[in-house]
C-alpha cells in the first residue's frame, strides 16, 4: 500500500466513529437548560442586582413549600447524587424512548457489563423497559435501564460495587431518587417527584443476582 493510500485509510478509520442521533440536540440543550449556574449568574448579578432582590424571597418561599410538600424525607445532596442527576439530564432524550427491550436483551447486556442478571418474575416479566445502556457512574461501569413508571419514565441504575453504606434519598425540582446498597452492589432508582420508587427497589431487590 503506498503512502497516499495509507494516509487516506488512516483518516477514514480514525474519523469513522459517528455521533449517535440526537447527541447534537442534547449538547445544544445544555445552553437552554439551567445547568450553568456559574457564568450567567455572575453576569446577571452584577448588572441586575434589583432583579435578584425581588426574586430571591419568592424563590426562597417556593423552595420552602416544595421542601414541605415532599414527604418530609431527608434528602441529601452528595457528589454521587449530583453525578446521577447530571447523567440523567444529559441522557434526557432517552426518557421518552418508545423502544422495547426484552428481559433477555437486558440480561445479555448486564451479564457482559456488570456481571449481573434479573430473574424472571411476575414483576420483571411485565416490566416495560424502553432503554438499556451501560454507562459510567461513580467511576465504574454501571447498567442504566429506563422503564415505564406510574407517572413517567423511571431510571434504574445498577453499580457492581457498594458505593453507599445506607439508603440515601435525593431530589431536585424535577426528579426524586434513591441510592440503595444491594448485596455487593448498589441500586439507584430515579423518577418524577410523584413517582413511588419503593416498588421498583423491591422488584430489583428480589430479582437481581450478582454473578461473581
Amino acid at each position: 500500500m503506498n503512502e497516499q493510500d495509507f494516509e487516506k485509510l488512516l483518516q477514514q478509520v480514525l474519523k469513522a466513529p459517528t455521533p449517535p442521533a440526537g447527541l447534537q440536540n442534547s449538547l445544544l440543550a445544555v445552553a437552554s437548560e439551567d445547568v450553568n449556574q456559574a457564568a450567567p449568574a455572575r453576569t446577571m448579578a452584577a448588572a441586575n442586582d434589583s432583579f435578584w432582590r425581588r426574586a430571591l424571597p419568592v424563590a426562597a418561599c417556593m423552595a420552602l413549600l416544595l421542601g414541605l410538600a415532599y414527604r418530609f424525607q431527608p434528602a441529601q445532596d452528595t457528589p454521587l447524587s449530583q453525578e446521577i442527576l447530571r447523567h440523567v439530564y444529559a441522557e434526557a432524550r432517552f426518557l421518552n424512548s418508545t423502544d422495547h427491550v426484552s428481559l433477555a436483551e437486558v440480561n445479555s447486556r448486564m451479564g457482559k457489563t456488570i456481571k449481573a442478571r434479573l430473574e424472571s418474575s411476575r414483576d420483571t416479566d411485565v416490566m416495560d423497559v424502553h432503554f438499556s445502556k451501560d454507562c459510567w457512574i461513580a467511576k465504574q461501569v454501571a447498567m442504566h435501564l429506563i422503564i415505564s413508571g406510574d407517572t413517567g419514565p423511571v431510571s434504574v441504575m445498577m453499580i457492581p460495587s457498594q458505593v453507599v453504606q445506607q439508603e440515601t434519598v435525593f431530589n431536585d425540582a424535577r426528579f426524586t431518587g434513591t441510592i440503595t446498597p444491594m448485596g455487593s452492589g448498589t441500586l439507584i432508582v430515579l423518577g418524577n417527584r410523584a413517582e413511588p420508587l419503593g416498588k421498583y427497589t423491591a422488584m430489583v431487590q428480589s430479582t437481581l443476582h450478582w454473578q461473581y
Partner: protein, 184 residues
C-alpha cells in the same frame, strides 16, 4: 429607556450572544470531539458521556475562552481533563469493536476488500500503546500540529513527531504483514 431597563437589555443580549457562540461551537466541533472520545475511551457509550461532560464544562467556563481560534484546542483539552477525572480508575475492557466496524462501513462507504484492510487497521490502532495512539488521533482527527499536540500532552515537539512517526510505522507493519500473509 431607564438605566435599569438598559442594563437588563444588555444582559439579555450578552446571554443571547454567549448562547449563539456556544451553539456554533457545538455544531463545528462535536463530531471531532466525539470521535476523539471514542479513541480515548475505546467505548462508544463512555465516549458519548464524555462528550456531554466536555460540552457541559465548556458551557460553564465559556467566558474563559479568549479567542474563537483557540476553541478547538480548548475543547480537546477539556475532554482530556474530563477523561482523566472521570475515568481514571482502571476499568474492564468492553467489547465495542463491532460498533466501530459498522461505523466504518457506513461512514467511509468502503468496498468489502477495503473494509477488511480498514478493519485490520482499526484493530491495530486499538492495539497501539496510548502514547502512540493519542498523538496520532489528535493529529488526524483534530488536525493539530506537533507543537499543539506537545502543549496538550506536555511533550516537546521532537517527542511528538517521533511518536507520530513510530505510530505510523507500527500500523504499516501490521497492515503490510497481513497483506503479505494473505498473498502467500
Amino acid at each position: 429607556m431607564t438605566a435599569q431597563e438598559s442594563a437588563e437589555n444588555s444582559v439579555i443580549t450578552t446571554k443571547g450572544q454567549r448562547r449563539k457562540r456556544y451553539e456554533s461551537l457545538v455544531r463545528d466541533y462535536y463530531h471531532d470531539i466525539f470521535r476523539y472520545a471514542c479513541w480515548l475511551t475505546r467505548h462508544r457509550p463512555l465516549a458519548e458521556d464524555l462528550t456531554q461532560e466536555t460540552f457541559m464544562r465548556a458551557w460553564r467556563a465559556f467566558d474563559s475562552l479568549q479567542s474563537p481560534d483557540a476553541a478547538k484546542a480548548w475543547l480537546f483539552t477539556i475532554l482530556r481533563r474530563e477523561n482523566a477525572r472521570l475515568y481514571e480508575k482502571p476499568r474492564p475492557e468492553l467489547d465495542d469493536v463491532d460498533d466501530h466496524e459498522a461505523s466504518l462501513a457506513e461512514a467511509a462507504h468502503l468496498e468489502p476488500d477495503q473494509l477488511m484492510e480498514a478493519s485490520m487497521l482499526h484493530k491495530a490502532i486499538l492495539a497501539l500503546e496510548p502514547e502512540y495512539r493519542d498523538p496520532l488521533a489528535l493529529q488526524v482527527i483534530g488536525g493539530f500540529s506537533g507543537e499543539e499536540i506537545g502543549v496538550m500532552l506536555d511533550l516537546n515537539n521532537n517527542t511528538v513527531m517521533t511518536r507520530l512517526f513510530r505510530a505510523r510505522n507500527k500500523l504499516r507493519a501490521v497492515l503490510d504483514g497481513n497483506i503479505e500473509s494473505k498473498q502467500e
